[in-house]
Symmetry: C2
Subunit: 223 residues, 2 copies
């Protein structure tokens, strides 16, 4: 295997500017079940597996959601996110970063806790070629913060996870990176603070994909 | 003057759960002018004076907004916020906290960088009596992070600002508190991290108004 680092990207908040719409979509979906949950608590869970997120939020509400409720919340979230996500597009520099990696022959993949249904439109806007592996929640037993998504992405690229760099906006990406044995790098574009990502174990934190692109050499990426 | 501490509250993100709707409303208002600005950058400016916010965001875009554009963005923000704020209500414990302060005879006021137009519906949901001073952006020359709003609020209460405690969710509240000479206390309910508020100078940071209420004694509030 090659020791050239590969990049494994989270999607929402890392490559596309969609976190705040996800927050409000989850908030409405949970309100439909009769629960009022503060937006900031949802924000700090986005990026987790949807099932974990609903259960974790239920615990904060002191309510155990039934399986049927979890499914109803997830379905409503998908619907509300579609309603709110009209203006969602790539974050500054995201398209240019991925294009540059492609030109330089640096392997990369996308690994998202989202489903094909919610991730599809965002992926289209990134203009990815068919050669870029995209792993969604539908393809692994457990989404983040379990390591499965990033392990599957590395496996698709035929790279070793130990030489891979996970780029994400949430502490769940950084935790999944650590559990997978990859290096974690943070971006602020999902609305977490630098300190939260650093404390979680991010080796570096950049403002957004554009600034990550300007500093690829800091991650030992050559060529 | 009385040395009993008075509490001067920010509104959005501190007493009502409205920050994420404000973020998306500003984002759409700026998009109407042809600019695509990341939601997280807007989030970290919410709580500032609207004029400062638009100018600051313009600078990040490398564009100087004309006065007419600033006004157009602010008007569009008011409109989009109304559209998005259907579900906006008090944060957990906010109504109970203010009621308890009233019962215990502890003076308090509200001081918001928002205008009467955007703050009105939120204020109604808090069920405040007419005896509670509310200072909005319309009544002072400069909103946060200038100290004017909190100075005016203390003056309405006839308390000394040096014995007052400013409670806010953003670093702009904490900066305005410091400039006014008041003690700053943070809440996480606007989506800033604990570390950001502490580094800005918050003496204590609580998750939301409900948890602040449970710890009033930590702020030297007696009676």
């Amino acid at each position: 295997m090659d020791r050239q680092p590969a990049l494994l990207f989270d999607l929402d908040g890392t490559l596309v500017d969609s976190v705040y719409q996800h927050v409000l979509a989850w908030r409405r979906a949970i309100a439909d079940q009769g629960f009022d949950l503060s937006a900031w608590r949802i924000h700090r869970r986005v990026g987790m597996s949807g099932g974990l997120l609903v259960n974790a939020l239920g615990r904060e509400l002191g309510h155990e959601f039934t399986d049927a409720q979890v499914q109803a919340v997830q379905a409503a979230h998908t619907r509300y996110f579609r309603e709110l996500s009209g203006g969602v597009g790539p974050l500054p520099g995201a398209v240019q970063l991925l294009r540059e990696l492609g030109h330089r022959g640096i392997p990369f993949a996308i690994a998202t806790s989202g489903t094909r249904a919610t991730a599809g439109p965002s992926l289209e806007k990134l203009g990815l070629g068919p050669e870029v592996p995209v792993v969604t929640r539908d393809e692994v037993p457990f989404a983040k913060p379990d390591p499965d998504l990033f392990l599957a992405a590395a496996s698709h690229l035929r790279v070793e996870i130990a030489y891979s760099i996970v780029v994400g906006d949430s502490v769940w990406d950084i935790l999944a990176a650590r559990r997978a044995g990859a290096l974690g790098v943070g971006v602020l574009s999902g609305g977490y603070s630098r300190q939260e990502l650093e404390v979680a174990g991010a080796f570096r934190v950049y403002q957004d994909p554009g600034l990550l692109r300007d500093h690829l050499d800091e991650l030992g990426i050559r060529g």
